[in-house]
Symmetry: C2
Subunit: 494 residues, 2 copies
């Protein structure tokens, strides 16, 4: 990141405008595409800038889950009722503490309309249900739980599965982006690849354009109405990670390798505020199908969570509370129940005929895991989990022989996943990305350090802090990126 | 905080300079005082601005612990050897992850000299040792452990107590500030109270002064050599807490009520970067003397930490990992061992003849605390704590009857402590302050968003991120505030 990005250019210093549009968008992931389509629908002329030689970004590398609900056709086809209110309540809890209720309520209230907008561009959701906790279903099913049916949320709000997975052979992000990019290309939106935004241009207080670097030359692009930053997060900027999220140093990343935080810095260069820069999505390498059937313990042999919860919640607990020193303990039946499709090639690191032997192999304090399993089994036999409230569906006494998988050394053999997650010095223990970013209003306006909108500047997607307090749920990045990308596009064009 | 703080003033817009000095310092806590004394020692003329009607700030409200070591006269008088290397290793571990090693190594290497500097101004450290974990000793003893003798640190680095507590009747911060302020007042440093810095003045890229608001009027003060921001943290700015540290919302605060983040915002207004804004010192209301003699458990009845560790470490675990839903479990002997001086009036919320009864009273899952105590007792009888490595000194089987104290409803009756901690909506469960802030070099230069120093701008104390990664130890705020305040004063005057 060059220091040049830090200094906005005064419009008086611009001698030559290489190009002009009503709305200039920086970054061609899902948020940029949604913003471009909507600004164009509103009659605005649009330039969409992309640093790389083609669009897609981390959106195209993702699993392709969209958090949608309120009674979508996919939900109804699978036999589930839902309401916007129930959806909002779940997100306020799961994305908290202090998730922005104004954004979440709008997002939930408009979710059906947003579903229609997506499917109107051909984004496919297969009307079939995948009924296990998972990062991404091994099937092409279109609907899945994302923790709504797990404690503590299952007792707080009416349950409905809201993980809408874009139908695909494998990860669905590429299919989402194929459809959105095809839609963009069918319009007059001018996509300019190989174009890196390096400075914002200010007309007084107002953001009025962007300096773009392409093939070694700088060009000034004028934005008559607004500039929208949709550049993604900053997990690929080691300096920003070190500044804001020391827990994530050395952990593997989950991105296209170009989530460099440049848009966040561009915003800050004109006085933008940022929010929750230390928060992250922690995709631990544990296979949810294994976790759910066993127990997850720390190195003291204590259980740490209900294992049927959204797996990112296990990930946050594992990294922030236990520095990834956590294990899944399983028995033979659990291993046998998990098909090869589901296991992603993961195998136990230790197996043992007795719990005492397993304690020794794993280095647990003698007797600790023994007590944990005895307590778990005693209650599991009755379909109860008094410690964490795991659903009776997954409760069953675990019986010897046992196996143990360590998250630090766990790995997934899915070629797609291996390609997507960039291992860090801590190995393939987790693939993380950042969820903090620019402070925005519900219309994507970027706010300054005291919360006032900066004229002419908008942001959406992971360059903003979006729907999130500290928690995360799959589908809220593609979801808030496209939804608030649209709102930003509409506001900027208006 | 008015929006005016956001916009630096160009020097060309200044028509009238109300005052001029080589070095202008904003904020008269320990860091400001140290910076002023040092800049003055270097021959610089100094103006020291204070928002309130007198100096002291949160430094004067604090316990008065300074983290010092390397073999200070106080340590030697109490019979302890120490080295700068051992001190640095402890801080790198305890303040991590990713605590800044360059700052810590300088801080440790110069600690003896810094001790001499402090005592040279009359700051008193009584050469006597207080040998229990504590927030602040109930005595006026001058030396205490701050976790150096507790796992995991006790096995990583040579142990030495380094908590130097300014001798005082009660909290020592006021005594520290009395001495430093007396020293400042003996110089030609011009202290200007009731003077709130509202804008920085820029000469090109260089910070060249401050706009100060006093009694409704703005004055421009020119800084020929540098401006030093020593305004403290931001725990009293609800907007900044909400932006950066959602976990701290609703928790009680530990400050003078004026840690409003204004200096951090001033720095950001000229492009400064910030670090670790979500991190905090969590002073839970548990009395360490009770914790150490009992066990600390979460609402699942699981132990969460070795109870003899630095109590702020329990606090971070309690807030970030358990949302303050933690309890101390004690037996009669433990209560009897804690004198009234030490207990700060805290009493058990529940007492019970049996562990089963206590589980019911506290709402623990039946059998959970029973298992925890049985495991603890079995090993404590042998002087072992295989789960967390608590020191054998504090290990003893706990026997019925039992008592339980809940951190959420715990309170301290010490008038000084009650006055100091501002209870939040979550009650007196904890008194917290922020430890993130402006990014500075080892010489207190404030860095911009890509890490380059901003000419003419310096910071120290809790307006900067100081020595900290994510962890905290008492005495590192007064310690880094005075030490890096001095370095900033020297650099700005140079």
């Amino acid at each position: 990141m060059a220091a040049e990005i830090l200094r906005p250019l005064s419009i008086n210093e611009v001698t030559d405008w290489a190009d002009t549009a009503d709305v200039v968008i920086i970054g061609y992931g899902c948020a940029g595409a949604a913003a471009a389509l909507t600004a164009h629908e509103q009659g605005a002329s649009v330039i969409l800038l992309e640093m790389l030689s083609g669009g897609g970004g981390s959106s195209a590398m993702s699993g392709g889950e969209m958090y949608l609900g309120g009674g979508t056709p996919t939900q109804r086809a699978c036999g589930f009722d839902d309401t916007p209110e129930a959806m909002a309540e779940y997100l306020i809890g799961a994305l908290g503490p202090n998730a922005p209720e104004d954004k979440i309520r709008l997002y939930a209230q408009d979710s059906l309309e947003h579903y229609d907008w997506l499917t109107g561009y051909g984004v496919p959701f297969k009307p079939s249900f995948y009924d296990e906790p998972s990062w991404v279903p091994p099937t092409d099913d279109g609907l899945m739980w994302l923790g709504e049916n797990a404690a503590p949320f299952s007792s707080i709000t009416p349950m409905a599965p809201r993980g809408h997975r874009v139908q695909s052979d494998g990860f669905g992000g590429k299919v989402l982006m194929q459809h959105l990019m095809a839609a963009v290309e069918a319009t007059e939106v001018r996509v300019q690849n190989d174009s890196r935004a390096v400075r914002l241009i200010l007309d007084g207080d107002r953001v009025a354009g962007v300096v773009v670097r392409s093939f070694g030359e700088n060009r000034a692009i004028r934005a008559n109405k607004g500039v929208i930053i949709t550049t993604g997060g900053f997990i690929d900027n080691p300096r920003m990670v070190e500044q804001h999220a020391p827990q994530m140093i050395g952990v593997g990343t989950n991105s296209d390798g170009n989530d460099n935080g440049s848009g966040i810095l561009l915003g800050q260069s004109v006085g933008a505020g940022v929010r929750r820069m230390s928060a992250g999505q922690i995709g631990i390498a544990f296979v949810p199908a294994f976790m759910t059937r066993g127990i997850v313990v720390n190195w003291q042999g204590q259980r740490i969570i209900n294992e049927d919860v959204y797996p990112g919640r296990v990930g946050q607990t594992a990294l922030y509370e236990h520095d990834l020193e956590v294990w899944v303990i399983l028995d033979e039946q659990a291993f046998e129940e998990v098909s090869d499709d589901l296991s992603w090639g993961a195998r136990p690191h230790h197996v043992a005929e007795t719990v005492e032997e397993l304690e020794e192999l794993c280095g647990f304090p003698a007797g600790s895991l023994r007590d944990t399993i005895a307590f778990y089994n005693e209650h599991a036999a009755r379909g109860e989990d008094p410690l964490f409230g795991k659903s009776a569906r997954w409760l069953r006494p675990l019986t010897a022989p046992f196996g143990a998988m360590n998250v630090r050394n766990s790995f997934a053999e899915s070629p797609e996943k291996a390609r997507n997650d960039q291992a860090g010095p801590k190995g393939s223990a987790a693939g993380v990305f950042t969820i903090g970013g620019l402070h925005t209003t519900v219309d994507g306006e970027v706010c300054d350090l005291v919360g006032e909108p900066i004229p002419g500047l908008y942001a959406a997607g992971r360059a903003s802090s979006g729907l999130h307090g500290w928690g995360y749920v799959s589908g809220t990045s593609l979801g808030d990126g496209t939804y608030f990308g649209r709102r930003a596009g509409r506001a900027a064009a208006g």
